[in-house]
Protein backbone atom coordinates (compact mmCIF):
# COMPACT_ATOMS: atom_id res chain seq x y z
CA UNK A 1 0.00 0.00 0.00
CA UNK A 2 1.30 3.43 -0.87
CA UNK A 3 0.68 6.20 1.54
CA UNK A 4 1.10 9.43 -0.31
CA UNK A 5 1.63 12.42 1.96
CA UNK A 6 -1.72 14.10 2.55
CA UNK A 7 -1.98 17.27 0.52
CA UNK A 8 -3.85 20.27 1.77
CA UNK A 9 -7.30 20.93 0.36
CA UNK A 10 -9.96 18.69 -1.14
CA UNK A 11 -9.18 15.37 -2.67
CA UNK A 12 -11.07 12.21 -3.45
CA UNK A 13 -10.92 9.59 -0.77
CA UNK A 14 -8.81 6.69 -1.97
CA UNK A 15 -11.40 4.24 -3.36
CA UNK A 16 -11.10 0.69 -2.05
CA UNK A 17 -10.04 -2.28 -4.17
CA UNK A 18 -13.66 -3.32 -4.54
CA UNK A 19 -14.86 -1.82 -7.83
CA UNK A 20 -17.95 0.32 -8.26
CA UNK A 21 -16.94 3.72 -6.95
CA UNK A 22 -16.99 5.45 -10.35
CA UNK A 23 -20.21 3.84 -11.47
CA UNK A 24 -22.18 4.48 -8.29
CA UNK A 25 -20.93 8.05 -7.89
CA UNK A 26 -21.83 8.82 -11.52
CA UNK A 27 -25.25 7.30 -11.07
CA UNK A 28 -25.90 9.19 -7.84
CA UNK A 29 -24.93 12.52 -9.35
CA UNK A 30 -27.03 11.97 -12.48
CA UNK A 31 -30.01 10.82 -10.43
CA UNK A 32 -29.86 13.67 -7.93
CA UNK A 33 -29.49 16.16 -10.80
CA UNK A 34 -32.53 14.78 -12.57
CA UNK A 35 -34.78 14.40 -9.54
CA UNK A 36 -33.77 17.31 -7.32
CA UNK A 37 -31.34 19.73 -8.88
CA UNK A 38 -33.07 20.46 -12.22
CA UNK A 39 -36.53 21.18 -10.75
CA UNK A 40 -35.04 23.33 -8.00
CA UNK A 41 -32.80 25.31 -10.33
CA UNK A 42 -35.86 25.84 -12.57
CA UNK A 43 -37.49 27.37 -9.53
CA UNK A 44 -34.57 29.69 -8.83
CA UNK A 45 -34.26 30.61 -12.49
CA UNK A 46 -37.95 31.46 -12.69
CA UNK A 47 -37.84 33.70 -9.65
CA UNK A 48 -34.64 35.30 -10.89
CA UNK A 49 -36.58 36.50 -13.93
CA UNK A 50 -38.38 38.77 -11.51
CA UNK A 51 -35.49 41.14 -11.01
CA UNK A 52 -33.95 42.05 -7.66
CA UNK A 53 -36.25 44.96 -6.81
CA UNK A 54 -39.47 43.03 -7.37
CA UNK A 55 -38.08 39.99 -5.59
CA UNK A 56 -37.17 42.12 -2.60
CA UNK A 57 -40.61 43.70 -2.59
CA UNK A 58 -42.28 40.28 -2.46
CA UNK A 59 -39.84 38.97 0.12
CA UNK A 60 -40.38 41.90 2.48
CA UNK A 61 -44.15 42.01 2.00
CA UNK A 62 -45.87 41.78 5.38
CA UNK A 63 -48.11 38.93 4.22
CA UNK A 64 -45.12 36.92 2.97
CA UNK A 65 -43.14 37.50 6.13
CA UNK A 66 -46.08 36.55 8.34
CA UNK A 67 -46.74 33.40 6.32
CA UNK A 68 -43.06 32.38 6.56
CA UNK A 69 -43.02 33.13 10.28
CA UNK A 70 -46.10 31.00 10.83
CA UNK A 71 -44.77 28.14 8.70
CA UNK A 72 -41.32 27.98 10.29
CA UNK A 73 -42.53 28.91 13.79
CA UNK A 74 -45.25 26.26 13.99
CA UNK A 75 -43.01 23.63 12.39
CA UNK A 76 -40.26 24.37 14.90
CA UNK A 77 -42.63 24.26 17.85
CA UNK A 78 -44.31 21.06 16.66
CA UNK A 79 -40.94 19.38 16.07
CA UNK A 80 -39.83 20.39 19.58
CA UNK A 81 -42.96 18.86 21.09
CA UNK A 82 -42.44 15.72 19.02
CA UNK A 83 -38.86 15.39 20.24
CA UNK A 84 -40.04 15.16 23.85
CA UNK A 85 -43.02 12.90 23.41
CA UNK A 86 -41.64 10.92 20.45
CA UNK A 87 -38.59 10.02 22.55
CA UNK A 88 -40.86 8.85 25.38
CA UNK A 89 -42.95 6.76 22.96
CA UNK A 90 -39.78 5.21 21.52
CA UNK A 91 -38.53 4.46 25.05
CA UNK A 92 -41.75 2.67 25.98
CA UNK A 93 -41.69 0.65 22.76
CA UNK A 94 -38.04 -0.35 23.17
CA UNK A 95 -37.85 -0.99 26.89
CA UNK A 96 -41.11 -2.55 27.95
CA UNK A 97 -43.12 -5.45 26.67
CA UNK A 98 -46.84 -5.18 27.29
CA UNK A 99 -49.90 -6.62 25.62
CA UNK A 100 -50.60 -4.72 22.42
CA UNK A 101 -47.06 -3.41 22.03
CA UNK A 102 -46.95 -4.41 18.38
CA UNK A 103 -50.22 -2.64 17.70
CA UNK A 104 -48.93 0.55 19.31
CA UNK A 105 -45.74 0.15 17.31
CA UNK A 106 -47.71 -0.09 14.06
CA UNK A 107 -49.93 2.82 15.07
CA UNK A 108 -46.93 5.15 15.15
CA UNK A 109 -46.64 4.81 11.37
CA UNK A 110 -50.25 5.74 10.64
CA UNK A 111 -49.51 9.45 10.07
CA UNK A 112 -47.11 8.29 7.31
CA UNK A 113 -49.80 6.29 5.56
CA UNK A 114 -52.89 8.41 6.03
CA UNK A 115 -53.69 10.94 3.28
CA UNK A 116 -52.85 14.24 4.94
CA UNK A 117 -56.18 15.80 3.96
CA UNK A 118 -57.99 13.05 5.89
CA UNK A 119 -55.88 13.85 8.95
CA UNK A 120 -56.63 17.54 8.54
CA UNK A 121 -60.38 17.01 8.29
CA UNK A 122 -60.41 14.60 11.25
CA UNK A 123 -58.44 17.01 13.44
CA UNK A 124 -60.62 19.94 12.42
CA UNK A 125 -63.78 18.00 13.30
CA UNK A 126 -62.32 17.18 16.71
CA UNK A 127 -60.98 20.61 17.57
CA UNK A 128 -63.66 22.85 16.02
CA UNK A 129 -65.52 24.86 18.71
CA UNK A 130 -68.44 22.42 18.44
CA UNK A 131 -66.23 19.29 18.13
CA UNK A 132 -65.48 16.72 20.86
CA UNK A 133 -62.27 18.27 22.13
CA UNK A 134 -62.94 21.80 20.93
CA UNK A 135 -66.15 22.02 22.98
CA UNK A 136 -64.23 21.00 26.08
CA UNK A 137 -61.48 23.56 25.47
CA UNK A 138 -63.76 26.42 24.47
CA UNK A 139 -65.00 27.19 28.03
CA UNK A 140 -61.34 27.48 29.10
CA UNK A 141 -60.84 30.13 26.45
CA UNK A 142 -58.56 27.93 24.36
CA UNK A 143 -59.23 28.09 20.64
CA UNK A 144 -57.45 25.44 18.62
CA UNK A 145 -59.06 25.18 15.21
CA UNK A 146 -58.50 28.14 12.86
CA UNK A 147 -55.50 29.40 14.88
CA UNK A 148 -51.73 28.76 14.73
CA UNK A 149 -52.26 26.36 17.66
CA UNK A 150 -54.34 24.20 15.31
CA UNK A 151 -51.48 24.23 12.81
CA UNK A 152 -49.10 23.07 15.54
CA UNK A 153 -51.42 20.18 16.44
CA UNK A 154 -51.66 19.06 12.81
CA UNK A 155 -47.87 19.20 12.47
CA UNK A 156 -47.35 17.25 15.70
CA UNK A 157 -49.58 14.54 14.25
CA UNK A 158 -47.66 14.51 10.97
CA UNK A 159 -44.18 14.65 12.49
CA UNK A 160 -44.41 12.05 15.30
CA UNK A 161 -43.25 9.00 13.30
CA UNK A 162 -40.11 10.82 12.12
CA UNK A 163 -38.83 11.23 15.67
CA UNK A 164 -39.92 7.80 16.91
CA UNK A 165 -38.46 5.95 13.94
CA UNK A 166 -35.08 7.69 14.05
CA UNK A 167 -34.63 7.40 17.83
CA UNK A 168 -35.93 3.84 18.23
CA UNK A 169 -33.08 1.91 16.53
CA UNK A 170 -30.38 3.87 18.39
CA UNK A 171 -32.21 3.29 21.65
CA UNK A 172 -32.30 -0.44 20.98
CA UNK A 173 -28.50 -0.40 20.77
CA UNK A 174 -27.99 1.18 24.20
CA UNK A 175 -25.83 -1.12 26.24
CA UNK A 176 -27.53 -2.12 29.47
CA UNK A 177 -24.11 -2.29 31.11
CA UNK A 178 -23.65 1.46 30.75
CA UNK A 179 -26.75 2.02 32.87
CA UNK A 180 -25.60 -0.56 35.39
CA UNK A 181 -22.19 1.07 35.71
CA UNK A 182 -23.82 4.45 36.30
CA UNK A 183 -25.93 2.89 39.08
CA UNK A 184 -22.93 1.28 40.79
CA UNK A 185 -21.17 4.66 40.67
CA UNK A 186 -24.04 6.09 42.69
CA UNK A 187 -26.10 7.83 39.98
CA UNK A 188 -29.85 7.75 40.56
CA UNK A 189 -32.26 7.03 37.73
CA UNK A 190 -32.75 10.66 36.83
CA UNK A 191 -28.99 11.33 36.69
CA UNK A 192 -28.45 8.23 34.57
CA UNK A 193 -31.03 9.38 32.03
CA UNK A 194 -29.90 13.00 31.94
CA UNK A 195 -26.14 12.48 31.96
CA UNK A 196 -25.63 9.08 30.36
CA UNK A 197 -28.55 8.06 28.14
CA UNK A 198 -29.74 11.32 26.59
CA UNK A 199 -26.31 12.55 25.46
CA UNK A 200 -25.87 9.24 23.65
CA UNK A 201 -29.23 9.64 21.95
CA UNK A 202 -28.72 13.30 21.09
CA UNK A 203 -27.55 12.77 17.47
CA UNK A 204 -30.58 10.61 16.70
CA UNK A 205 -32.90 13.05 18.43
CA UNK A 206 -31.45 15.94 16.41
CA UNK A 207 -31.95 13.97 13.19
CA UNK A 208 -35.54 13.20 14.16
CA UNK A 209 -36.08 16.86 14.94
CA UNK A 210 -34.67 17.89 11.56
CA UNK A 211 -36.90 15.46 9.67
CA UNK A 212 -40.05 16.41 11.58
CA UNK A 213 -39.22 20.07 11.17
CA UNK A 214 -38.56 19.80 7.42
CA UNK A 215 -41.76 17.86 6.95
CA UNK A 216 -43.71 20.43 8.97
CA UNK A 217 -42.41 23.37 6.94
CA UNK A 218 -43.58 21.77 3.70
CA UNK A 219 -46.85 20.32 5.02
CA UNK A 220 -49.94 21.51 3.20
CA UNK A 221 -52.80 19.00 3.10
CA UNK A 222 -53.54 18.56 6.79
CA UNK A 223 -52.84 22.18 7.74
CA UNK A 224 -55.15 24.07 5.39
CA UNK A 225 -58.24 22.46 6.88
CA UNK A 226 -57.49 23.28 10.49
CA UNK A 227 -55.66 26.58 10.00
CA UNK A 228 -58.59 28.72 8.94
CA UNK A 229 -56.14 30.42 6.59
CA UNK A 230 -56.59 34.02 7.75
CA UNK A 231 -54.00 36.19 6.01
CA UNK A 232 -51.39 37.60 8.47
CA UNK A 233 -52.72 35.28 11.23
CA UNK A 234 -52.92 31.62 10.27
CA UNK A 235 -51.86 31.50 6.65
CA UNK A 236 -48.92 29.20 5.94
CA UNK A 237 -46.33 29.88 3.24
CA UNK A 238 -47.21 26.86 1.04
CA UNK A 239 -50.82 28.08 0.95
CA UNK A 240 -49.68 31.58 -0.03
CA UNK A 241 -47.77 30.01 -2.92
CA UNK A 242 -50.92 28.23 -4.07
CA UNK A 243 -52.91 31.47 -3.80
CA UNK A 244 -50.33 33.28 -5.96
CA UNK A 245 -50.47 30.45 -8.49
CA UNK A 246 -54.24 30.71 -8.68
CA UNK A 247 -53.79 34.40 -9.41
CA UNK A 248 -51.46 33.39 -12.28
CA UNK A 249 -48.72 35.29 -10.44
CA UNK A 250 -46.08 32.64 -11.10
CA UNK A 251 -43.14 34.92 -10.39
CA UNK A 252 -44.37 35.78 -6.89
CA UNK A 253 -45.13 32.10 -6.19
CA UNK A 254 -41.64 31.01 -7.19
CA UNK A 255 -40.08 33.87 -5.23
CA UNK A 256 -41.73 32.72 -1.99
CA UNK A 257 -40.79 29.15 -2.84
CA UNK A 258 -37.16 30.16 -3.37
CA UNK A 259 -37.06 31.89 0.01
CA UNK A 260 -38.49 28.79 1.71
CA UNK A 261 -35.97 26.66 -0.09
CA UNK A 262 -33.04 28.80 1.01
CA UNK A 263 -34.20 28.89 4.64
CA UNK A 264 -34.85 25.14 4.80
CA UNK A 265 -31.56 24.29 3.17
CA UNK A 266 -29.65 26.54 5.56
CA UNK A 267 -31.29 24.95 8.61
CA UNK A 268 -30.77 21.38 7.44
CA UNK A 269 -27.16 22.17 6.60
CA UNK A 270 -26.52 23.53 10.08
CA UNK A 271 -28.12 20.45 11.65
CA UNK A 272 -26.00 18.20 9.45
CA UNK A 273 -22.81 20.00 10.42
CA UNK A 274 -23.68 19.61 14.09
CA UNK A 275 -24.18 15.89 13.48
CA UNK A 276 -20.84 15.46 11.73
CA UNK A 277 -19.07 17.33 14.47
CA UNK A 278 -20.57 15.21 17.24
CA UNK A 279 -19.92 11.97 15.35
CA UNK A 280 -16.27 12.86 14.89
CA UNK A 281 -15.96 13.53 18.58
CA UNK A 282 -17.69 10.53 20.04
CA UNK A 283 -17.07 7.97 17.30
Amino acid sequence: MTTAPAKAGWRFRQPSVIPGFGLTLGFSLAYLTLIILIPLSGLIWRSAALGWADFWAIATDRRTINALEISFGTAFFAAAVNVVFGTIVAWVLVRYSFPGRRIVDAMVDLPFALPTAVAGIALTTLYAPNGWLGSLLAPLGIKVAYTPLGIVIALIFIGLPFVVRTVQPIMEEIDKEVEEVAATLGANRFQTIARVLLPGLAPAIVTGFALAFARGVGEYGSVIFIAGNLPYKSEIAPLLIVIRLEEYNYAAATAIAAIMLALSFAMLLVINLVQTWSRKRYG
Partner: protein
Amino acid sequence: MEVRVANVRKEFERFPALHDVSLDIKSGELIALLGPSGSGKTTLLRLIAGLERPTKGKIFFGEEDASQKSIQERNVGFVFQHYALFRHMTVADNIGFGLKVRHGPTRPSAQEIRRRASELLDLVQLSGLEKRYPAQLSGGQRQRVALARAMAIEPAVLLLDEPFGALDAQVRRELRRWLREIHDATGHTTVFVTHDQEEALELADRVVVMSQGSIEQVGTADEIYDTPNSPFVYGFIGESSALPVKVEDGQVWIADRPIGLSAPHAPQGEATLFFRPHDVELVDECNGCIAGTVAASRRVAGTRRVELEIGGERQRVEIELPVNHPAAQKSRVAFRPRRWKLFPTA
Protein backbone atom coordinates in the same frame (compact mmCIF):
# COMPACT_ATOMS: atom_id res chain seq x y z
CA MET B 1 -14.09 -4.45 53.64
CA GLU B 2 -15.10 -8.03 54.51
CA VAL B 3 -17.78 -9.54 52.36
CA ARG B 4 -19.86 -12.49 53.51
CA VAL B 5 -22.18 -14.37 51.20
CA ALA B 6 -24.57 -16.40 53.37
CA ASN B 7 -26.64 -19.24 51.90
CA VAL B 8 -27.54 -17.34 48.75
CA ARG B 9 -29.85 -18.90 46.20
CA LYS B 10 -30.77 -17.28 42.89
CA GLU B 11 -33.41 -18.38 40.42
CA PHE B 12 -34.16 -16.86 37.05
CA GLU B 13 -37.79 -17.61 36.25
CA ARG B 14 -37.75 -20.83 38.28
CA PHE B 15 -34.43 -21.88 36.74
CA PRO B 16 -31.85 -22.07 39.54
CA ALA B 17 -28.59 -20.28 38.69
CA LEU B 18 -27.06 -20.59 42.17
CA HIS B 19 -27.82 -23.20 44.85
CA ASP B 20 -27.21 -22.21 48.44
CA VAL B 21 -23.81 -20.59 48.03
CA SER B 22 -21.76 -19.35 50.99
CA LEU B 23 -18.43 -17.58 50.81
CA ASP B 24 -16.31 -15.47 53.18
CA ILE B 25 -14.05 -12.88 51.64
CA LYS B 26 -11.47 -11.27 53.89
CA SER B 27 -10.75 -7.56 53.84
CA GLY B 28 -8.10 -6.67 51.27
CA GLU B 29 -8.18 -10.08 49.62
CA LEU B 30 -7.94 -10.68 45.87
CA ILE B 31 -10.37 -13.47 45.00
CA ALA B 32 -11.01 -15.20 41.68
CA LEU B 33 -14.31 -16.84 40.77
CA LEU B 34 -13.33 -19.53 38.28
CA GLY B 35 -15.56 -21.87 36.35
CA PRO B 36 -16.90 -22.83 32.93
CA SER B 37 -19.69 -20.79 31.37
CA GLY B 38 -23.01 -21.40 33.09
CA SER B 39 -21.36 -22.15 36.42
CA GLY B 40 -22.96 -19.11 38.08
CA LYS B 41 -19.77 -17.12 38.67
CA THR B 42 -21.04 -13.95 36.99
CA THR B 43 -24.40 -14.29 38.77
CA LEU B 44 -22.58 -14.43 42.11
CA LEU B 45 -20.58 -11.31 41.22
CA ARG B 46 -23.72 -9.43 40.17
CA LEU B 47 -25.44 -10.45 43.40
CA ILE B 48 -22.58 -9.01 45.44
CA ALA B 49 -22.82 -5.79 43.40
CA GLY B 50 -26.57 -5.58 43.88
CA LEU B 51 -27.27 -5.78 40.14
CA GLU B 52 -29.41 -8.84 40.97
CA ARG B 53 -31.46 -9.60 44.06
CA PRO B 54 -30.99 -13.00 45.74
CA THR B 55 -34.02 -15.29 45.77
CA LYS B 56 -32.91 -16.45 49.22
CA GLY B 57 -30.02 -15.68 51.55
CA LYS B 58 -28.09 -12.58 52.51
CA ILE B 59 -24.93 -10.71 51.62
CA PHE B 60 -23.04 -8.81 54.30
CA PHE B 61 -20.53 -5.98 53.81
CA GLY B 62 -18.72 -5.98 57.14
CA GLU B 63 -21.44 -6.32 59.76
CA GLU B 64 -24.07 -4.64 57.62
CA ASP B 65 -26.68 -6.54 55.66
CA ALA B 66 -26.13 -5.20 52.14
CA SER B 67 -28.95 -7.20 50.57
CA GLN B 68 -31.40 -4.56 51.81
CA LYS B 69 -29.43 -1.72 50.20
CA SER B 70 -29.87 -0.36 46.68
CA ILE B 71 -27.02 -0.57 44.16
CA GLN B 72 -26.29 3.13 44.64
CA GLU B 73 -25.94 2.77 48.42
CA ARG B 74 -23.66 -0.26 48.31
CA ASN B 75 -20.69 1.70 47.05
CA VAL B 76 -19.15 -1.00 44.88
CA GLY B 77 -16.81 -0.53 41.94
CA PHE B 78 -17.87 -2.69 38.99
CA VAL B 79 -15.80 -3.27 35.84
CA PHE B 80 -17.37 -4.97 32.83
CA GLN B 81 -15.65 -7.10 30.22
CA HIS B 82 -16.54 -4.61 27.49
CA TYR B 83 -15.57 -1.56 29.57
CA ALA B 84 -19.00 0.17 29.43
CA LEU B 85 -17.35 3.59 29.28
CA PHE B 86 -19.50 6.67 28.68
CA ARG B 87 -18.74 7.41 25.04
CA HIS B 88 -19.70 11.06 25.07
CA MET B 89 -17.47 11.93 28.04
CA THR B 90 -13.74 12.50 28.12
CA VAL B 91 -11.53 10.14 30.08
CA ALA B 92 -11.39 12.64 32.97
CA ASP B 93 -15.19 13.03 33.00
CA ASN B 94 -15.64 9.27 32.96
CA ILE B 95 -13.41 8.87 36.00
CA GLY B 96 -15.02 11.79 37.82
CA PHE B 97 -18.59 10.65 37.13
CA GLY B 98 -19.09 8.81 40.42
CA LEU B 99 -18.02 11.90 42.38
CA LYS B 100 -20.01 14.35 40.26
CA VAL B 101 -23.33 12.61 40.81
CA ARG B 102 -23.03 12.85 44.59
CA HIS B 103 -25.32 15.20 46.45
CA GLY B 104 -24.70 17.93 48.98
CA PRO B 105 -21.61 18.01 51.18
CA THR B 106 -20.29 14.60 50.07
CA ARG B 107 -19.66 15.98 46.58
CA PRO B 108 -16.12 17.26 46.19
CA SER B 109 -15.50 20.57 44.40
CA ALA B 110 -14.93 20.53 40.64
CA GLN B 111 -11.27 21.24 41.24
CA GLU B 112 -10.96 18.36 43.70
CA ILE B 113 -12.67 16.00 41.23
CA ARG B 114 -10.19 17.00 38.54
CA ARG B 115 -7.31 16.42 40.92
CA ARG B 116 -8.63 12.96 41.87
CA ALA B 117 -9.09 12.03 38.22
CA SER B 118 -5.54 12.92 37.26
CA GLU B 119 -4.21 11.15 40.36
CA LEU B 120 -6.04 7.96 39.30
CA LEU B 121 -4.83 8.35 35.73
CA ASP B 122 -1.29 8.37 37.09
CA LEU B 123 -2.06 5.20 39.03
CA VAL B 124 -3.33 3.39 35.91
CA GLN B 125 -0.42 4.80 33.90
CA LEU B 126 -2.46 6.88 31.48
CA SER B 127 -1.30 10.36 32.51
CA GLY B 128 -1.93 13.00 29.88
CA LEU B 129 -4.95 11.31 28.29
CA GLU B 130 -7.53 13.31 30.32
CA LYS B 131 -9.00 15.03 27.27
CA ARG B 132 -9.32 11.94 25.05
CA TYR B 133 -12.62 10.24 24.28
CA PRO B 134 -13.01 6.47 24.76
CA ALA B 135 -13.19 5.95 20.98
CA GLN B 136 -9.62 7.24 20.77
CA LEU B 137 -8.18 4.63 23.15
CA SER B 138 -7.05 1.03 22.66
CA GLY B 139 -8.85 -1.84 24.40
CA GLY B 140 -6.25 -2.12 27.16
CA GLN B 141 -6.36 1.62 27.79
CA ARG B 142 -10.16 1.59 27.94
CA GLN B 143 -10.11 -1.15 30.56
CA ARG B 144 -7.65 0.88 32.65
CA VAL B 145 -9.98 3.87 32.47
CA ALA B 146 -12.89 1.65 33.53
CA LEU B 147 -10.86 0.49 36.53
CA ALA B 148 -9.85 4.04 37.46
CA ARG B 149 -13.52 5.07 37.25
CA ALA B 150 -14.51 2.24 39.59
CA MET B 151 -11.77 3.15 42.08
CA ALA B 152 -12.65 6.86 42.09
CA ILE B 153 -15.58 6.30 44.47
CA GLU B 154 -13.36 4.53 47.05
CA PRO B 155 -15.48 1.38 46.77
CA ALA B 156 -16.06 -1.00 49.66
CA VAL B 157 -15.30 -3.81 47.26
CA LEU B 158 -14.04 -3.88 43.67
CA LEU B 159 -15.82 -6.33 41.34
CA LEU B 160 -14.41 -7.25 37.93
CA ASP B 161 -16.37 -9.32 35.42
CA GLU B 162 -13.93 -11.06 33.04
CA PRO B 163 -11.88 -7.86 32.99
CA PHE B 164 -9.33 -9.05 30.44
CA GLY B 165 -11.62 -11.28 28.38
CA ALA B 166 -11.84 -8.95 25.39
CA LEU B 167 -8.11 -8.26 25.13
CA ASP B 168 -5.42 -10.09 23.20
CA ALA B 169 -3.04 -12.46 24.97
CA GLN B 170 -0.09 -10.09 25.18
CA VAL B 171 -2.04 -7.18 26.68
CA ARG B 172 -3.86 -9.58 28.95
CA ARG B 173 -0.67 -10.87 30.56
CA GLU B 174 0.61 -7.34 30.98
CA LEU B 175 -2.60 -6.09 32.61
CA ARG B 176 -2.71 -9.13 34.87
CA ARG B 177 0.63 -8.25 36.43
CA TRP B 178 -0.37 -4.63 36.58
CA LEU B 179 -3.69 -5.40 38.34
CA ARG B 180 -1.76 -7.34 40.99
CA GLU B 181 0.49 -4.30 41.56
CA ILE B 182 -2.49 -1.94 41.80
CA HIS B 183 -4.15 -4.27 44.26
CA ASP B 184 -1.06 -4.45 46.43
CA ALA B 185 -0.75 -0.66 46.35
CA THR B 186 -4.39 0.22 47.12
CA GLY B 187 -5.55 -2.78 49.14
CA HIS B 188 -9.13 -2.80 47.85
CA THR B 189 -11.02 -6.02 48.53
CA THR B 190 -11.31 -7.36 44.99
CA VAL B 191 -13.37 -10.14 43.40
CA PHE B 192 -12.90 -11.01 39.75
CA VAL B 193 -14.60 -13.49 37.48
CA THR B 194 -12.65 -15.45 34.90
CA HIS B 195 -12.82 -18.66 32.91
CA ASP B 196 -9.07 -18.56 32.36
CA GLN B 197 -7.51 -20.79 35.03
CA GLU B 198 -4.01 -19.52 34.39
CA GLU B 199 -5.23 -16.02 35.16
CA ALA B 200 -7.03 -17.14 38.32
CA LEU B 201 -4.15 -19.24 39.69
CA GLU B 202 -1.51 -16.62 38.94
CA LEU B 203 -3.35 -13.55 40.15
CA ALA B 204 -5.60 -14.44 43.05
CA ASP B 205 -4.89 -14.93 46.76
CA ARG B 206 -7.64 -17.52 46.78
CA VAL B 207 -9.52 -19.19 43.96
CA VAL B 208 -13.19 -20.16 44.13
CA VAL B 209 -13.90 -22.98 41.67
CA MET B 210 -17.55 -23.08 40.64
CA SER B 211 -19.61 -25.54 38.64
CA GLN B 212 -23.32 -25.74 37.89
CA GLY B 213 -24.35 -23.09 40.38
CA SER B 214 -22.32 -24.39 43.32
CA ILE B 215 -18.91 -23.77 44.82
CA GLU B 216 -16.73 -26.86 44.33
CA GLN B 217 -13.62 -25.75 46.19
CA VAL B 218 -12.07 -22.64 47.71
CA GLY B 219 -8.33 -22.41 48.24
CA THR B 220 -4.97 -21.00 47.27
CA ALA B 221 -3.48 -21.87 43.90
CA ASP B 222 -1.38 -24.62 45.55
CA GLU B 223 -4.31 -26.15 47.36
CA ILE B 224 -6.52 -26.14 44.28
CA TYR B 225 -3.86 -27.67 42.06
CA ASP B 226 -2.29 -30.18 44.44
CA THR B 227 -5.30 -31.35 46.44
CA PRO B 228 -8.40 -31.06 44.31
CA ASN B 229 -11.38 -32.24 46.34
CA SER B 230 -13.66 -33.40 43.54
CA PRO B 231 -13.43 -35.08 40.12
CA PHE B 232 -14.67 -31.80 38.61
CA VAL B 233 -11.84 -29.72 40.10
CA TYR B 234 -9.24 -32.35 39.19
CA GLY B 235 -10.47 -32.37 35.60
CA PHE B 236 -11.00 -28.63 35.30
CA ILE B 237 -7.73 -27.34 36.76
CA GLY B 238 -4.62 -28.20 34.78
CA GLU B 239 -4.08 -31.29 32.67
CA SER B 240 -5.41 -34.58 33.96
CA SER B 241 -6.04 -38.16 32.91
CA ALA B 242 -8.78 -40.34 34.33
CA LEU B 243 -9.21 -44.15 34.38
CA PRO B 244 -12.04 -46.29 35.72
CA VAL B 245 -10.60 -48.66 38.35
CA LYS B 246 -11.67 -50.95 41.17
CA VAL B 247 -10.53 -50.92 44.80
CA GLU B 248 -10.16 -54.28 46.51
CA ASP B 249 -8.13 -55.36 49.56
CA GLY B 250 -6.49 -51.94 49.75
CA GLN B 251 -5.17 -52.27 46.18
CA VAL B 252 -6.13 -50.48 42.97
CA TRP B 253 -7.10 -52.81 40.12
CA ILE B 254 -7.66 -52.36 36.43
CA ALA B 255 -9.72 -55.30 35.15
CA ASP B 256 -8.07 -58.30 36.83
CA ARG B 257 -4.62 -56.87 37.45
CA PRO B 258 -3.38 -54.80 40.38
CA ILE B 259 -1.47 -51.77 39.14
CA GLY B 260 0.88 -51.36 42.05
CA LEU B 261 -0.92 -48.54 43.84
CA SER B 262 -2.06 -49.20 47.36
CA ALA B 263 -5.07 -47.38 48.76
CA PRO B 264 -5.66 -48.76 52.24
CA HIS B 265 -8.20 -46.09 53.23
CA ALA B 266 -10.23 -45.93 50.02
CA PRO B 267 -13.70 -47.53 50.12
CA GLN B 268 -14.11 -50.83 48.31
CA GLY B 269 -15.66 -50.88 44.83
CA GLU B 270 -15.74 -48.89 41.62
CA ALA B 271 -13.70 -45.69 41.51
CA THR B 272 -12.01 -43.27 39.12
CA LEU B 273 -8.26 -42.79 39.22
CA PHE B 274 -6.99 -39.27 38.46
CA PHE B 275 -3.38 -38.29 37.79
CA ARG B 276 -1.42 -35.55 36.04
CA PRO B 277 0.08 -36.61 32.68
CA HIS B 278 3.48 -35.16 33.60
CA ASP B 279 3.60 -36.76 37.03
CA VAL B 280 4.25 -40.38 35.99
CA GLU B 281 7.26 -42.72 36.01
CA LEU B 282 7.94 -45.21 33.24
CA VAL B 283 8.66 -48.80 34.29
CA ASP B 284 10.34 -51.53 32.27
CA GLU B 285 9.10 -54.67 33.91
CA CYS B 286 5.36 -54.49 34.17
CA ASN B 287 4.90 -55.96 37.52
CA GLY B 288 2.12 -53.87 38.93
CA CYS B 289 1.75 -50.99 36.57
CA ILE B 290 -0.49 -49.46 33.92
CA ALA B 291 0.39 -50.66 30.42
CA GLY B 292 -1.10 -49.59 27.13
CA THR B 293 -0.53 -49.44 23.42
CA VAL B 294 0.52 -46.14 21.90
CA ALA B 295 -2.41 -44.70 19.94
CA ALA B 296 -1.02 -41.27 19.14
CA SER B 297 1.93 -39.09 19.95
CA ARG B 298 2.04 -35.32 19.64
CA ARG B 299 4.70 -32.73 20.21
CA VAL B 300 3.42 -30.01 22.56
CA ALA B 301 5.88 -27.20 23.21
CA GLY B 302 8.78 -28.67 25.26
CA THR B 303 7.33 -32.14 25.78
CA ARG B 304 5.81 -35.05 23.91
CA ARG B 305 2.24 -36.02 24.72
CA VAL B 306 1.57 -39.73 24.26
CA GLU B 307 -1.94 -41.14 24.12
CA LEU B 308 -2.29 -44.72 25.37
CA GLU B 309 -5.05 -47.28 25.04
CA ILE B 310 -5.42 -49.26 28.23
CA GLY B 311 -6.87 -52.74 28.59
CA GLY B 312 -9.68 -54.44 26.75
CA GLU B 313 -11.95 -51.42 27.11
CA ARG B 314 -9.41 -49.33 25.19
CA GLN B 315 -9.67 -46.47 27.69
CA ARG B 316 -7.54 -43.58 26.51
CA VAL B 317 -5.19 -41.68 28.82
CA GLU B 318 -2.45 -39.18 28.17
CA ILE B 319 1.03 -39.09 29.64
CA GLU B 320 3.81 -36.62 29.05
CA LEU B 321 7.36 -37.64 28.12
CA PRO B 322 10.57 -35.72 27.48
CA VAL B 323 10.89 -34.95 23.76
CA ASN B 324 13.67 -37.46 23.01
CA HIS B 325 12.53 -40.23 25.30
CA PRO B 326 12.92 -43.61 23.51
CA ALA B 327 9.63 -44.92 24.92
CA ALA B 328 7.70 -42.72 22.49
CA GLN B 329 8.97 -44.88 19.64
CA LYS B 330 7.75 -48.10 21.19
CA SER B 331 4.34 -49.59 20.55
CA ARG B 332 3.75 -50.46 24.22
CA VAL B 333 4.43 -48.28 27.23
CA ALA B 334 4.14 -49.15 30.90
CA PHE B 335 3.99 -46.50 33.64
CA ARG B 336 2.90 -45.77 37.16
CA PRO B 337 1.54 -42.37 38.37
CA ARG B 338 3.74 -40.74 41.00
CA ARG B 339 0.92 -38.75 42.51
CA TRP B 340 -2.72 -39.65 42.06
CA LYS B 341 -6.14 -39.51 43.62
CA LEU B 342 -9.15 -41.83 43.76
CA PHE B 343 -12.76 -40.69 43.69
CA PRO B 344 -15.40 -43.36 44.31
CA THR B 345 -17.78 -43.65 41.38
CA ALA B 346 -21.12 -42.29 42.45
